[in-house]
């Protein structure tokens, strides 16, 4: 699985989605009803665009994307201050 998509794939799995890599290196997303939604290539030509396409598509298909928790926000602030 492409590193860019790992966090989103983990989150989707935790929300009842099925996420798996196929033999061609695509990461495929199925919603909790088992319906195939979309795929993400192992080596996209433009990762930033492709990731945006994927995120928008998953949200349209019903994947909730909450803001980071207070713990995550604190962790991010510490990282930012450390840089």
């Amino acid at each position: 699985m492409n590193r860019d998509v790992k966090d989103l794939a983990t989150w989707a799995s935790s929300q009842g989605w099925r996420v798996h890599d196929d033999a061609n290196g695509y990461t495929r997303f199925h919603n909790p009803d088992g319906l195939y939604i979309t795929r993400y290539p192992a080596t996209p030509s433009n990762p930033r665009r492709r990731m945006a396409d994927l995120t928008v598509a998953l949200k349209k298909a019903g994947l909730p994307v909450p803001p980071p928790s207070k713990k995550e926000q604190r962790s991010q602030r510490r990282k930012d201050q450390g840089q």
Partner: protein, 206 residues
């Protein structure tokens, strides 16, 4: 004016996975991606760089028509910046529990539960077995507009008593605006044989 555009064409189609893969591969030159929108069909997203809005729509529609032999039922065109903003936007609100609200307002949890009865306090999004949760934005809005009145609330007076009504003792409370009025009413109750356990009480309100 030239921009990088993202054109999304919506089709009322329910293709299988193999067909979706084939279309996406055939449209690779347009950086296309295809996604199913449950119950509505599919979205074909195409990136068109450095053109006018009209040129971007024409490029996307012409390219798509070579592969998908059906007219779309919808077209949306936005700049790439707007597309990225939408991708980063959250779909669920930030939630707060009573304990987090207590921290944010610098009050006790008990006070939060008192505030819930105030008319202008936000309604919780959900009241779960483990406690209620609120939209953090609504709480911040409340905090910004909340007029605090620290210290003990101004005293009022009331008389609480039990009265024999309809064959049973019932507890009633009567408010009075001053201590002398409350005392006068209390004395009247003491002389009434249908009344027991009368109490003169000082009370306050928010």
């Amino acid at each position: 004016m030239n921009h990088n555009w993202v054109v999304t064409l919506t089709y009322a189609l329910e293709p299988d996975t193999t067909t979706m893969d084939r279309w996406e591969d055939q449209l690779a030159a347009l950086e296309a991606s295809i996604a199913r929108i449950p119950g509505r069909g599919i979205d074909l997203t195409i990136h068109v760089d450095d053109t006018t809005l009209d040129q971007a729509v024409t490029t996307a529609r012409t390219g798509a028509a070579e592969v998908i032999d059906v007219d779309p039922v919808g077209v949306e065109i936005i700049t790439e910046d707007e597309h990225l903003r939408r991708a980063e936007a959250f779909t669920a609100p930030e939630l707060m529990s009573a304990a987090e609200i207590a921290d944010a307002l610098n009050v006790s949890r008990q006070r939060v539960h008192q505030l819930r009865t105030a008319e202008h306090f936000p309604q919780p999004l959900a009241d779960l077995r483990g406690g209620a949760v609120w939209d953090a934005r609504a709480i911040r809005q409340f905090a910004a507009e909340w007029t605090r009145r620290p210290g003990r609330p101004p005293a009022g007076w009331a008389v609480s008593y039990e009265c024999f009504l309809d064959g049973a003792w019932q507890r009633l409370t009567e408010q009075r605006s001053s201590e002398s009025e409350a005392l006068e009413f209390y004395k009247l109750l003491l002389a009434n044989s249908n009344v027991r356990d009368a109490r003169l009480i000082s009370s306050g309100s928010d």
